[in-house]
């Protein structure tokens, strides 16, 4: 004779509701994940970073091409350069000044180095030291 299944209690019902809610949210995130995966499919990492950061990464990539790996750069800009320092490494990025107007002074003081920072329009600005 089949045994009677016990009725689910309050915690089981709440757990089922919580799992259902998570499943609905997961479906939404899963769809977003698939869209991103399709957009990135077959591209090298450099192009995938362009998808993420847009113009900022294009500027960083330009700086990477221009500045030799053994060079030193000075950060002259009020913003923090954390991402820039990550992508420019092994080039050494040193703290310069938070004052953009000090740019030329740094270029003169460090003629063999580079000066980098955000321009007022948000683009990355890179200059060689003034010999």
């Amino acid at each position: 004779m089949p045994t009677k299944r016990p009725r689910p209690g309050f915690p089981a019902l709440l757990l089922a509701a919580a799992l259902a809610a998570n499943a609905a949210l997961l479906a939404h995130e899963g769809a977003r994940t698939l869209r991103i995966a399709r957009a990135a499919l077959g591209r090298p990492n450099e192009q995938r970073r362009l998808l993420i950061y847009g113009g900022l990464y294009a500027d960083i990539d330009q700086a990477r091409r221009e500045v030799p790996e053994t060079a030193t750069l000075w950060w002259v800009s009020p913003e923090y350069p954390w991402l820039i320092s990550y992508y420019l490494y092994p080039r050494v990025l040193r703290w310069g000044s938070p004052d953009r107007s000090a740019r030329d002074e740094f270029r003169r003081r460090h003629p063999g180095d580079w000066v980098i920072g955000f321009a007022p329009n948000g683009r990355l600005q890179l200059d060689r030291g003034i010999e």
């Binding site: 919580a18 949210l25 991103i36 970073r49 350069p81 991402l83 320092s85 490494y89």
Partner: protein
């Protein structure tokens, strides 16, 4: 503790620490050093597995997935694991902490071969939080060394594996006192928490160290409880390994390791395991000594702690308390996860006094939450943005133990069966 989880914890703690020790001795992080350290870590894992309870490959009965609830939970877990894996391999690391705090260190360790380099030691070079723990950066650097290049996309698989290990640890923790179906459902509940998938540093594969930290922290408390209940020396060793993982993964891990220690030792040091404790203390001292010699936030002006913050801390109590409640209730972050946890614990406490292990977990979580709240009260940052950025990640640290406590508490509300009745 399950042999695989214990082995994973031992390997992921031993290999980075051996690499760190090699750097301290002046050996660079080339392929020979990395392979030697991996082999040494593997030998350690093998030794532990040989002397432990439960083999790495035990024979098990086939998994029975007849019930609909079980099928649904397995399906959900398969979906979340697939989603996390697709997220891992789609894009390179791009979340803030993953790149800036830990990825940069990993890149320097891989390319310079050591932390004893100007990028770490010269405060004039841009490098935030230079003295943050190095477990994850060393693992990433070892991954790059094996690969032969920096690949920020493939390295996300490392975090995917950590997330799987976290879910496995929670499942095994639940299974210690809870039935298979309930454990599976509660693990699925944790695994499908939206915070692990949304586009934020909390993502399971974001590359931030919060999931690895949650893994070590949950393991440390679980093995401390296991040691307290059973007194098996192996549990104490596991507790020390997980605890070292905590303090070598995140800065506040150092403060938190006192909690599993208090649970395990009950106010006294167990002399039978003095060797394990001595190895733990010596390793911790090595890291803390090195950490004290690394510069902190270079030119990171607003983040200077001032004693006067203590005097005004109490003004922040309502702000911090409200922010925590708001975070735990956020549907887009947590779904009904915390609502379920609170309801389950309340329901269990109403039906029967909570069992001792559950009370221990709740005490550990309470002290942990107090530590986090205490830090929020005195941190010199602007409080609103600080809480927005940190609370979701801090809540992840609590999530594994919370779901285990709920599972154990609910198990205690079931009517006790008479001896021998289990066979019916």
């Amino acid at each position: 503790m399950n042999a695989w989880i214990s082995a994973f914890a031992a390997a992921t703690v031993a290999a980075p620490f051996l690499l760190f020790a090699a750097n301290l001795l002046g050996l660079p992080l080339g392929r020979p050093t990395v392979y030697t350290c991996i082999l040494l870590a593997a030998a350690l894992v093998r030794m532990r597995a040989a002397g432990g309870k439960g083999a790495l490959f035990p024979s098990r009965p086939p998994f029975d997935a007849r019930s609909w609830s079980r099928k649904a939970c397995v399906l959900l877990l398969v979906l979340v694991v697939t989603t996390a894996l697709v997220q891992a391999v789609s894009l390179p690391l791009y979340h803030w902490d993953a790149l800036v705090l830990y990825g940069f260190k990993a890149k320097v360790l891989f390319q310079a071969g050591t932390f004893r380099t100007p990028a770490f030691l010269d405060p004039g070079i841009v490098h935030p939080n230079t003295n943050y723990p190095l477990l994850v950066p060393y693992l990433e650097a070892a991954f790059y060394a094996v690969l032969g290049r920096v690949d920020e996309r493939l390295v996300r698989i490392l975090f995917f594996v950590y997330w799987l290990a976290y879910l496995a640890l929670v499942y095994r923790g639940l299974r210690l006192k809870t039935g298979r179906d309930a454990s599976l459902a509660l693990t699925a509940l944790l695994g499908t928490v939206p915070l692990f998938f949304i586009d934020d540093a909390t993502q399971a594969v974001s590359g931030s160290v919060d999931v690895p930290f949650a893994f070590y922290w949950t393991g440390a408390v679980l093995s401390a409880i296991e040691y307290r209940e059973e007194g098996a020396p192996r549990s104490l060793d596991e507790c020390l390994i997980f605890s070292f993982g905590c303090l070598f993964t995140k800065p506040h891990g150092l403060a938190l390791v006192a909690i599993p220690a208090a649970i395990a030792f009950r106010g006294r040091v167990d002399r039978t395991r003095w060797r394990s404790v001595a190895v733990f203390l010596a390793s911790a001292a090595c890291w803390l000594w090195t950490r004290s010699r690394l510069p902190d936030n270079v030119d990171y002006a607003p983040r200077v702690f001032e004693a006067r913050m203590l005097a005004t801390a109490w003004h922040r109590i309502p702000i911090v308390g409200e922010a925590w409640l708001r975070e735990l209730a956020r549907f887009d972050h947590w779904g009904l996860f915390w609502a379920f946890i609170l309801a389950a614990l309340g329901f269990a406490a109403y039906r029967r006094r909570l069992p001792s292990p559950v009370r221990l977990i709740l005490a550990a979580l309470g002290v942990q939450a107090l530590v986090y709240i205490g830090v929020s009260l005195v941190v010199p940052n602007e409080i609103g943005s600080f809480l927005d950025a940190t609370l979701p990640r801090l809540a992840i640290h609590l999530s594994g133990l919370a779901v285990i406590a709920a599972g154990w508490a609910l198990e205690g509300t079931k009517p006790r069966r008479p001896p021998g009745d289990e066979l019916l």
